[in-house]
């Protein structure tokens, strides 16, 4: 039996495993994946489940998406990707693969500047809050 953290992760991952998101052709990886060929545009998804919860099967938090684009071209491409993420996440309710439901709320975007590890990339951070309600 899986718990709330795994159920929540499955809900978030199901968005990026969907046919519609894959058709956007934006390379998407989760945190703690170190693929060898990331290219010049990709996003990295982290689920931070550290917020309050109304019961033991539920949890709230933030889905954090680092958006990497080519440095030097201005922030527009990152904003376009953030808008795409909004269309898949903000205001959406995702039925849990196992049980329960995950609801996404408001989003924000911060342009962080040139990536420290790879100065040929620019990093922006997109965040969207969520509540995951696990079924009893």
């Amino acid at each position: 039996m899986m718990g709330k953290f795994t159920d929540l992760e499955k809900d978030v991952f199901s968005v990026f495993d969907g046919v519609a998101w894959k058709a956007e052709n934006i390379l998407t990886v989760p945190s703690n994946f170190l693929g060898s060929e990331m290219g010049t545009e990709f996003i990295s998804v982290s689920v931070i489940a550290s917020g309050a919860s109304p019961n033991t099967r539920s949890i709230s938090g933030v889905c954090l998406v680092d958006i990497f684009i080519a440095a030097g071209g201005g922030p527009r491409r990152a904003s376009i990707i953030a808008d795409k993420l909004d269309s898949y996440l903000v205001g959406k309710t995702i039925p849990s693969v196992v049980n329960g439901v995950t609801q996404f709320f408001a989003s924000s975007l911060a342009h962080k500047g040139v990536d420290k590890a790879n100065p040929s990339l620019h990093r922006s951070t997109y965040t969207v809050t969520f509540n995951h309600f696990g079924a009893f």
Partner: protein
């Protein structure tokens, strides 16, 4: 002979001259890595085995909160190729995970190996 070939030839000679300081080990190398969101796992297009001579330059053990051992090694790039954190190497029957690449000159690569121990 080109300079690159000359350097590689002399590196091979150097690795032979230091005799048992350079030891052969079997690396399991995984390439073409991608993440599968359906299975929530990293998948690798190819997995192949390469036997390469390495020179262990440093051996550290830290026991502050748990036992972690680290080795730094160098190898000929022409023999080992590129390495990634998904690669492993067997040394004296123990499996070590390849850590971050420390240096890659195009001829010599230096990287770390990691393992948890008691």
């Amino acid at each position: 002979m080109s300079y690159k070939a000359l350097i590689n030839t002399n590196l091979t000679r150097a690795f032979n001259l230091i005799k048992d300081l350079a030891t052969s080990h079997e690396f399991v190398k995984r390439t073409g890595s991608a993440f599968n969101f359906a299975t929530a796992s990293a998948e690798h297009a190819t997995t192949n085995t390469v036997t390469a001579k390495i020179v262990v330059m440093d051996d550290k053990k830290q026991t502050k909160d748990r036992g972690s051992v680290t080795k730094h090694f160098m190898a000929r790039k022409s023999e080992l190729g590129d390495v990634s954190i998904y690669d492993t190497v067997t040394i004296e029957g123990e499996i070590w995970k390849v850590g971050p690449l420390l240096q890659d000159t195009g001829f010599i690569i230096m990287a770390s190996l990691h393992r948890e121990t008691k």
